[in-house]
């Protein structure tokens, strides 16, 4: 009953903010409203009993995505100068699609209906067997890392390839002659150094943020957390330092070669665990073969590949942020 009331509240707010994002002309406002949109979405996930997803949505949706959109906006226009092109055709198509979907949802089971089909076939097996097979309190991490480890390996490589794509697109910077010389521009614009208080507090909090990221990383088995969220949190800490101290100092803290090496190392760790478990007689990514006692092997396997995922995601986010901020000098 309680969740119905709260989700009503939050979902209507969600729709209002989405329509507002649609209507603004100023891209800067749209990006900030999409930050609010992600926070409401994360609160919704929390009410729908999805703690891990709420943490991921908050860290990535409200944190990293806002920073990326803003640094992209800094390089392009801030105004959506075009009047909407012929609003009738898009309006018609989207409302037709919406109407069809709404009609289709009438047969869908009521929210939280225990005998919905979703809860019938596959899900109970995982909920019962996880304590026996893997004995990890957080079932989501168990399924993510062990039952469906091969899939997560695929996702890690998708993130890896996206990072390579961004680096190849925004790679080496050859500042044009007539652009303001780098030192001058850097000194003036790219940091909040002249704000004394934000600089002090920002730099003071960076170690705690990274520590909290590591806590979320290794706490992934017992509570909401895991490699993806931890990587984004650690990257957020480094990005905060780069925001406060400015691009070059940020690149001194985490140099380019280190963050791209981190990306490769994470993916390599993940695959290495698979190969080792194969060499020890199990199948690829079957962690039971990692040590004499299968449950202990599962624990070790999950811990190592979560560390690999954390490394990759942190490296990718830092590399992408540096690629965008370094591009600003052109």
């Amino acid at each position: 009953m309680i969740t119905i009331v709260f989700s009503l509240f939050l979902l209507t707010m969600l729709v209002i903010v989405a329509v507002a994002i649609l209507r603004t002309d100023n891209l800067f406002t749209a990006v900030m409203l999409s930050g609010i949109f992600s926070l409401i979405m994360a609160a919704n996930f929390f009410i729908l009993d999805a703690a891990d997803v709420a943490l991921t949505e908050a860290v990535i949706g409200a944190g990293i995505s806002t920073v990326l959109f803003l640094s992209a906006l800094a390089l392009t226009a801030e105004y959506d100068r075009s009047p909407p092109v012929g609003t009738w055709v898009p309006l018609l198509t989207s409302s037709a699609l919406g109407g069809v979907i709404i009609f289709a949802t009438f047969q869908a089971p009521r929210l939280g209906d225990p005998n919905a089909i979703v809860h019938k076939h596959v899900a109970p097996w995982y909920l019962e067997r996880t304590p026996e097979l893997i004995d990890v309190p957080n079932v989501v991490t168990a399924v993510l890392a062990s039952f469906r480890g091969y899939d997560t390996l695929g996702e890690v490589f998708v993130v890896f390839i996206a990072c390579i794509g961004v680096m190849s697109l925004l790679g080496r910077v050859r500042p044009r002659r007539d652009s303001i010389e780098e030192g001058e521009f850097e000194k003036r614009s790219d940091n909040l150094r002249h704000h004394l208080i934000p600089r002090v507090v920002g730099k003071m909090l960076v170690p705690f943020i990274v520590l909290f990221g590591l806590y979320v990383q290794f706490h992934g088995d017992f509570g909401p957390g895991g490699g993806f969220q931890a990587g984004a949190l650690i990257a957020a800490g480094v990005i905060l330092y780069a925001l406060v101290e400015g691009g070059p100092r940020g690149r001194e803290l985490v140099p380019e070669w280190f963050s791209s090496m981190l990306v490769a190392l994470g993916a390599l760790t993940y695959t290495a665990v698979g190969v080792v478990s194969m060499m020890r007689g199990g199948r690829f990514l079957d962690y039971s073969a990692l040590s004499h006692d299968p449950i202990h092997g599962q624990h070790m396997g999950i811990l190592i590949i979560e560390a690999g995922v954390g490394m990759t995601v942190a490296g990718v986010m830092i590399t992408i942020f540096h690629a965008f901020s370094r591009r600003g000098i052109r």
């Binding site: 209002i16 900030m32 930050g35 409200a62 803003l70 801030e78 614009s189 909040l192 920002g202």
Partner: protein, 98 residues
Amino acid sequence: MEWVYFGTCIAILITMVLAVVRGLMGPTIFDRVLAVNMFGTKTVLFIAVMSFLSGRPDFLDLALAYALINFIGVFAVLLFFQSRGVRREAEAEREAGK
């Protein structure tokens, strides 16, 4: 105790709605940044009280992550706002130079 949590959650939700409305109506850009900042803090409180309401108080590190992300988001906005001033300044100069 149940209804106390429920009442506090309702108060926080109403404030969230007010913050969103200020974010949408806010005449200047800074009102929107203020709305985002205020909204972030309210989500932190909402998650904290909600985790007590649903009887799972071990979800509080979610609230800590929200507070942290909100802080970084506001800084990113302010830095963007300042560097945009420099960029317009540079472009105006380049036109003047040409």
